[in-house]
Symmetry: C2
Subunit: 152 residues, 2 copies
DNA sequence: ATATATGGTCAACCACGTTGACCGGAAGGT
DNA sequence: ACCTTCCGGTCAACGTGGTTGACCATATAT
């Protein structure tokens, strides 16, 4: 049994997430990718090989308007292109650029390195148990995230 | 070893946190405490038995202005009082009301119940290992949280 | 007594989300 | 072909939780 009160769990989860995200954003900044926010990473993951704003909103569990705003910011960062759909001229297909894919690759590298450090502190069995636990953790109502969190 | 890619860790942490928070907010809503946001819970925890806005900002790792806004919203919810300091007439002491303390108590109950359910799904050893892991997780730069996460 | 440090507030701004209204292209029914 | 309905996208206004800068008023140190 652990000495930590269960009621501290949410705070610890939050803190660990922010700690990982901060480390990755520092690394991206250093590697020539400044101004990347948490939202951008999630959205790029959700876009995958390409989709529309409406689909992006559905995948992230947010409104299509919010998804469109995020897409616009991704475009300004040079991470995606927005091209007219060939069959349906209403839609704009969001597709990752090489720079966008590279950002994702660097993020994944940084995340893995950070978790690797964490493993040396906590032990492999403990981190593996953590991953197992998180898979059956309570799910939020919004943010369905029905997209694969890929290895990139 | 776990079958989950380490790169999914941040997403899983985030999702677990939101899942717990959602459950607690639903419970609070049901118990007659509507409109409680994540910020309010963190701030109430940070206030503890009482402190000033500046101190609250320091504890949460945010600016004093942001802390003052949160305090104002807590006052409107009836969770704290803001009284002039007896020795220093500049300061306003933020102190939890009985309703504020009751909200914290209900939150703690709901969090414990939710983690208890989680324990039955994942197993005690796995959750204990998770708590151990989270204690040595990467720390965010901001949000120092040098206040005790109390059992209430 | 004056200078400096500190608690609090106001105002403007940013990031990220919401809802409501609307335009225009696609699709279906008659 | 035409009209209606559906749906992708955009615009505008707003809410929340942060930021920084300027400022006032009170404490405090010299």
């Amino acid at each position: 049994m652990s000495s930590t009160d269960d009621v501290a769990m949410p705070f610890l989860l939050m803190s660990a997430f922010e700690g990982l995200a901060d480390a990755v954003h520092r690394e991206l900044e250093r590697a020539g990718y400044p101004g990347v926010r948490t939202t951008h990473g999630f959205a790029m993951q959700a876009i995958g090989s390409g989709c529309t704003s409406v689909e992006l909103g559905a995948r992230l569990g947010i409104s299509k308007q919010a998804a469109a705003k995020t897409a616009q910011s991704l475009e300004e960062l040079g991470f995606i292109t927005r091209t007219r759909g060939p069959h349906d001229r209403r839609e704009r297909i969001l597709q990752p650029t090489p720079r966008g894919l590279e950002m994702l690759r660097l993020s994944a590298l940084a995340f893995r390195r950070e978790v690797e450090d964490w493993r040396t502190r906590a032990g492999d069995e403990v981190i593996d148990a953590t991953l197992d636990a998180l898979l059956v953790a309570p799910r939020p109502t919004r943010r369905v995230a029905d997209f694969p969190v890929t290895g990139v």
